[in-house]
Homo-oligomer: 212 residues x 2
């Protein structure tokens, strides 16, 4: 399979982790987001959403990171990134969506650029916005993780799941903007447990061939 | 089952449609978002994410609309809201996530309130922001729907899917802010096909008991 990726993209990072956890080798195609390569005509034929990542399976080009991870789960079930019980699956999906819908969209590159360029916000305004949504979202994640008996060494039990594939890139993103992470001890304990694993470590931005 | 809902919440609207499509009766608990009831202590015990909707199954309280719909799909498989083939499932999930991750987070109530109250944006600035993300996101959705042979009477084939549960509330939201929807003929054709069905029609905001 071929993965269209950019080293700093949190969404691509999620899929890199999932591929590594499942032991699937992949070829990388690098899409330079700051240069706008994702908005070009060539990439538009790969992904009509003009977003990274895309997974080219040969049979089809799949996009949206969580849809890709669910596809990998169905086609390569072992090791599992979702539990088998319906309530457990709902919990892992909810934790994943909390990051993917409530936190990340607010502070990805294009949202911050739009605030700066089109709405005339100062750097201070942009940082205020960024930190607000990080704090809002990570408080919710911490509340979920700290309040459930199903939280284990990882977000759900003692093996990594799709929720961890989302948690880790979000923490990298938050650190890049110097967010205060001390209020989220459960989240950070899980982050550390993840990063001790090779599958997470190898997927991190600075270890990608396109890292700058 | 019990659904914590607010008539205008797009995320709750998605779940109302799914419950109706599957023919599942539910009891409604109304959470008044503009009054901030979702941020109160009582609701915090229902949903640590302080967001609507929550589905209380008796055994557990589930949150995040797409996680709830996936749970309903696993526990009440018929009629199906996801196809059975892995590539089809990936496509329906991707279309759903395109709405849930790329469009809706940018223009839900709390994002607009934050722009207005904390970043000092004028109504004009807020409207510019809103319309930008609607146009950006719906163009991508239209490109996906118009370019695929798998699009049928609905987003995926000729029966409604999870993708339609996401598409319809997003169009209601866009109309509320007077967005120009003429550039999205495929999307709007599917919207009309959905609204001709009782399951969608009954779920719409103005037909909820808590509508104002």
């Amino acid at each position: 399979v071929k993965l269209y990726t950019y080293f700093r993209s949190s969404a691509a990072f999620r899929v890199r982790i999932a591929l590594n956890l499942k032991g699937l080798a992949y070829e990388s195609c690098f899409v330079h987001l700051p240069k706008g390569e994702h908005r070009g005509e060539a990439y538009g034929r790969v992904n009509p959403q003009a977003l990274v990542p895309t997974l080219d399976t040969g049979a089809a080009k799949l996009n949206q990171s969580l849809a890709i991870i669910e596809y990998l789960e169905q086609t390569h079930p072992s090791p599992a990134l979702l539990p088998t019980d319906a309530l457990g699956r709902a919990r892992v999906r909810s934790l994943s969506l909390l990051v993917a819908c409530e936190i990340h969209p607010m502070n990805n590159l294009r949202a911050l650029q739009y605030l700066r360029r089109e709405l005339g916000q100062s750097e201070e305004g942009v940082t205020t916005w960024y930190r607000h949504w990080i704090a809002d979202g990570l408080s919710k994640l911490e509340a979920e993780l700290a309040s459930s008996t199903r939280t284990g060494r990882f977000s759900h039990g003692d093996t990594p799941s799709m929720a961890d594939c989302c948690l880790v890139p979000q923490i990298f993103n938050a650190r890049r903007f110097d967010s205060d992470l001390r209020p989220y001890p459960t989240t950070m304990r899980i982050f550390d447990a993840c990063m001790a694993l090779d599958a997470f470590d190898r997927a991190q931005p600075s270890k990608q061939p396109d890292a700058e």
